[in-house]
C-alpha cells in the first residue's frame, strides 16, 4: 500500500524531487519508488525522529542502498531512538551479504561496530564475504581497519597462509601478509627477512608466473639492498633455468641495478642490458619499448662516459 494512502501518514505532505524544466540524467521511477522517497524527503525536511521514520529508511535502503543520505538519517535515528545496535548488526550483515561492493553499507557497519565497541564478529564475517569474492577491496579495507583499531593481529598471519594455499596468486592476500608482518614483527630482523624471502621463493617454485609473489619479494628487499641479501642472486639465477617469467627477469634487472649503484662494474651492466634485451625481444614483448627504454637508461647512468651510439638527448626518465 502506498504511503500516500496510509492514514497514519496523512499528517505528512510528500515532497517530490524537483529537477526543474530540463532535468538531466533523469531516472524513471515507478510509482512505488517515488512514493517511498517522497515520504522520505518529507521526513528529512522536518528531521522527524520516530519509529515510523526508522522503518521507512529500511524501505528506502531496499530500493537504493547507495543513497548515503538515507544511511546518515538512519544513523541519526538509531541514536535518537536508542535502537538495538545488535539488531542493527544483524541487519547490516544481511545487506552487505547482498551488496558487498557498496561503499555506504561498509561505512555503516564500521559506525555500528564503533558505537558497540565490539569487533568480535568482524573477522568471521569478513572471512565469509571473502569466501564469496576473495579480492573484495571493501572487505579487505574493513578487515585492516578492525585489526588495526582493535589490535586483532594474533591469528591474521595464519589466515593469510590459509588463503595463499587456496590461491597463491591472490594479490590482496600478499598485501595482507605485508600488512600483518610490517605491523607486528617488522622485517628488520635477518631471521624474519630470510624466512619471508624463502617463503616467496617456495611459492614461486610452485607457481612461477605470479607477479604478486615477485612484487612482495622485491618490496621487502628494495630498500634493504636487493643485491646484498646472501645467496639470493644465485637462487634467482637457478630459478631462471626452470621457473622463468617476466617477473623473475625484471627482478634480476633490479638486482643488477642495485649492484651497480654500489659498485659500477662493466660485467654487471652487461648482464643487466642483456636481460633487458631478452625481455624486450622474447619474454615480455608487450613491454618491448619500456625494456628498451630501461636499457638505454641503465647504459646512460652506468655506461662509459662517452658512447657515440647513445643518444644523450634522451632524458634519463
Amino acid at each position: 500500500m502506498f504511503y500516500r494512502d496510509r492514514k497514519e501518514w496523512a499528517d505528512l505532505e510528500p515532497v517530490p524531487q524537483d529537477d526543474g524544466p530540463n532535468p538531466v540524467v533523469k531516472i524513471a521511477y515507478s510509482e512505488k519508488f517515488s512514493d517511498v522517497y517522497d515520504y522520505f524527503r518529507a521526513l528529512l525536511k522536518k528531521d522527524e525522529r520516530s519509529d515510523r521514520a526508522f522503518a521507512l529508511t529500511a524501505e528506502a535502503i531496499e530500493l537504493n542502498a547507495a543513497n548515503y543520505t538515507v544511511w546518515h538519517y538512519r544513523r541519526v535515528l538509531l541514536q535518537a531512538l536508542q535502537k538495538d545496535l545488535r539488531e542493527e548488526m544483524r541487519y547490516i550483515t544481511d545487506i552487505i551479504e547482498e551488496q558487498p561492493k557498496n561503499y555506504q553499507v561498509w561505512h555503516h557497519r564500521r559506525m555500528v561496530v564503533e558505537w558497540l565497541n565490539d569487533p568480535s564478529e568482524e573477522l568471521e564475517f569478513i572471512a565469509d564475504i571473502l569466501s564469496q569474492d576473495a579480492k573484495n577491496y571493501h572487505a579487505w579495507q574493513h578487515r585492516q581497519w578492525v585489526i588495526q583499531e582493535y589490535k586483532l593481529w594474533d591469528n591474521e598471519l595464519e589466515f593469510v597462509e590459509k588463503l595463499l594455499e587456496e590461491d597463491v596468486r591472490n594479490n590482496s592476500v600478499w598485501n595482507q601478509r605485508h600488512f600483518v608482518i610490517s605491523h607486528t614483527t617488522g622485517y628488520s630482523s635477518p631471521a624474519i627477512l630470510d624466512r619471508e624471502v624463502q617463503y616467496c621463493l617456495n611459492q614461486i617454485r610452485k607457481a612461477p608466473h605470479n607477479e604478486s609473489a615477485w612484487n612482495y619479494l622485491k618490496g621487502i628487499l628494495q630498500d634493504r639492498g636487493m643485491s646484498s641479501h646472501p645467496g639470493l642472486l644465485e637462487q634467482v639465477l637457478e630459478l631462471k633455468e626452470t621457473h622463468c617469467s617476466p617477473y623473475l627477469l625484471a627482478f634480476l634487472v633490479d638486482c643488477y641495478e642495485d649492484a651497480l649503484e654500489n659498485n659500477n662494474q662493466k660485467e654487471t651492466l652487461n648482464r643487466a642490458l642483456e636481460v633487458c634485451e631478452y625481455l624486450a625481444q622474447e619474454k615480455d614483448t608487450i613491454r618491448k619499448e619500456y625494456w628498451l627504454f630501461l636499457q638505454r637508461s641503465l647504459e646512460s647512468r652506468f655506461g662509459p662516459s662517452f658512447d657515440p651510439t647513445v643518444n644523450y638527448c634522451a632524458v634519463y626518465y
Binding site: 517530490p16 524531487q17 524537483d18 529537477d19 526543474g20 524544466p21 530540463n22 538531466v24 540524467v25 531516472i27 524513471a28 521511477y29 515507478s30 519508488f33 522517497y37 524527503r41 518529507a42 528529512l44 525536511k45 528531521d47 530500493l63 537504493n64 547507495a66 543513497n67 548515503y68 543520505t69 546518515h72 538519517y73 557498496n102 561503499y103 561498509w106 577491496y137 579487505w140 579495507q141 585492516q144 588495526q148 596468486r169 591472490n170 594479490n171 590482496s172 598485501n175 605485508h178 600488512f179 610490517s182 605491523h183 607477479e211 604478486s212 612484487n215 612482495y216 622485491k218 618490496g219 628494495q222 625484471a250 608487450i286 613491454r287 618491448k288 619499448e289 619500456y290 627504454f293 626518465y317
Partner: protein, 364 residues
C-alpha cells in the same frame, strides 16, 4: 618506438562506431530506467561522463548546453541568508533531498542539505566543458565546504555529515582547487603526507596506508600531485621509476587494476593517464590496448563495457574513449591526463583563470 599513425593504419579493422557512442551519451543525458536507481545521488557524475564523452567525440553540438548549465547550477548548495551553512556548501549530486529547483541564492535552510566533494568536482568540470564561465559559482563557499571535509591525516570525506575517507576525495579536492585556482581549500602538505603514506611495498598506491595498490588509486595519487605541482617534490626519482614500473606492468592486453586480476576497459584510462603523466605511456603497446578497448565496444547500443560481451555503462563508455584518445585514435579530442577533461575545455579554463587574475589586479 610506437609511431601511432602508422600502427593505427595497420589495425583499423576493428571499427570505432562514433555515431553509436554519440547516441549512447545522448540517451544517458535524457532518461535512465529505474534499474539505475543506485546512481541517483551521483547523477552529476553520470552527466560529466556523458558531457565530457561528447566533448572527446567533438559532438557537444547535439545537446542543449544552456539548459544543462541551468540544471547544474540548480544543484549548487549556496550559503543561506545568515551564512550558517558555509561548511556545507558545494554541489549536490542530484535533487534527491527535495530542495525546490532554484538556480540562484540565497540557499535554503535544510537540516540535511550539503554538497558532496565528487559532485562539486564534476559540477565544475561539467560547467567548464559546456562553456560556462563559472561566474555563478560561489567560489568562497565551495572552498569553505571543501576545507570542512579534510581530516587530520590529510585525506578527505565526501560530505560534512561524515563518510568514508580516502584518496579518491583528495583527487576531487585537488581538481576543485586547481579549477578555482585557489588552494586555500586544502592543506596541501597533509594531503601529500596521506598520498605518500598510501604507497604500497609494491610501489603502486592503495586507497590508504596498508591497502592494496590499485590502478584507480594510483591515478588519484599521481594526478593529485601533478595538479598540486608537487610531483617531484613529493616523490624521489627512484620512487617515480618504481611507480612507472608498477604501472607499466598493468598492461596485459588492455590494462587491469591490480596484479592477477582481469583487464577492464576503464584502466586503459586510469593507468594510461598515470603513465602519460609519468612520461612513459609512449612505451606501452598501443595496438593491444586499442584492440582490447574496442573488443568491449557495444556495437548495438554504443558505449563500452568493462569486459567484452557485457553491458555498457556511462563510466566505461567515457573512460574507454579517453583510453583511445590517449593512444591517439583519430577524430577524438586530446584529454588532459590529470584533470580528465579535453585539452579544449582545459584551454577554456586557462583563459578564464587569466581573466580572473587580470580582474583581481584591476579590482578596487
Amino acid at each position: 618506438m610506437n609511431a601511432p599513425e602508422k600502427v593505427l593504419e595497420e589495425f583499423e579493422q576493428i571499427d570505432f562506431l562514433r555515431d553509436r557512442h554519440v547516441r549512447f551519451f545522448q540517451r544517458t543525458l535524457q532518461v535512465l530506467p529505474e534499474r539505475y536507481a543506485s546512481l541517483e545521488t551521483t547523477r552529476l557524475t553520470v552527466m560529466f561522463f556523458a558531457v565530457s564523452g561528447l566533448d572527446v567525440l567533438d559532438a557537444l553540438d547535439v545537446i542543449d548546453r544552456n539548459n544543462m548549465i541551468e540544471w547544474i547550477y540548480s544543484l549548487q548548495v549556496l550559503p543561506t541568508e545568515d551564512q550558517s551553512n558555509l561548511s556545507r556548501c558545494g554541489f549536490r549530486g542530484s535533487s534527491h533531498i527535495g530542495i525546490p529547483y532554484s538556480v540562484k541564492g540565497p540557499g535554503v535552510l535544510h537540516p540535511y542539505d550539503s554538497g558532496h566533494v565528487a559532485m562539486t568536482y564534476t559540477g565544475l568540470t561539467s560547467l567548464l566543458i559546456l562553456g560556462d564561465d563559472l561566474s555563478r559559482v560561489n567560489k568562497q563557499a565551495c572552498l569553505a565546504g571543501l576545507k570542512a571535509l579534510q581530516l587530520e591525516d590529510g585525506s578527505f570525506c565526501a560530505v560534512p555529515e561524515g563518510s568514508e575517507n580516502d584518496i579518491r576525495f583528495i583527487y576531487c579536492a585537488a581538481c576543485i582547487c586547481y579549477m578555482l585556482d585557489d588552494w586555500s581549500g586544502m592543506d596541501i602538505q597533509k594531503a601529500i603526507e596521506y598520498i605518500r603514506g598510501s604507497m604500497s611495498y609494491d610501489n603502486g598506491f592503495g586507497q590508504g596506508a596498508g591497502l592494496e595498490s590499485h590502478g584507480g588509486w594510483t591515478f588519484c595519487a599521481i594526478a593529485s600531485l601533478c595538479l598540486m605541482g608537487r610531483l617531484e617534490e613529493a616523490l624521489s626519482q627512484r620512487e617515480l621509476d618504481r611507480i612507472r614500473r608498477w604501472c607499466i606492468m598493468r598492461q596485459q592486453s588492455g590494462f587491469h587494476g591490480r596484479p592477477n586480476k582481469p583487464v577492464d576497459t576503464c584502466y586503459s584510462f586510469w593507468v594510461g593517464a598515470t603513465l602519460e603523466l609519468l612520461d612513459v605511456f609512449q612505451y606501452t603497446n598501443y595496438e593491444k590496448n586499442r584492440n582490447y578497448i574496442l573488443s568491449t565496444q557495444d556495437r548495438l547500443v554504443g558505449g563500452f563495457a568493462k569486459w567484452p560481451d557485457s553491458h555498457p555503462d556511462p563510466l566505461h563508455a567515457y573512460l574507454g574513449l579517453c583510453g583511445l584518445s590517449l593512444i591517439g585514435e583519430p577524430n577524438l579530442r586530446k584529454v588532459h591526463p590529470a584533470l580528465n577533461i579535453t585539452q579544449r575545455a582545459f584551454q577554456h579554463l586557462q583563459q578564464l583563470q587569466q581573466t580572473w587574475r587580470d580582474n583581481a589586479g584591476t579590482c578596487t
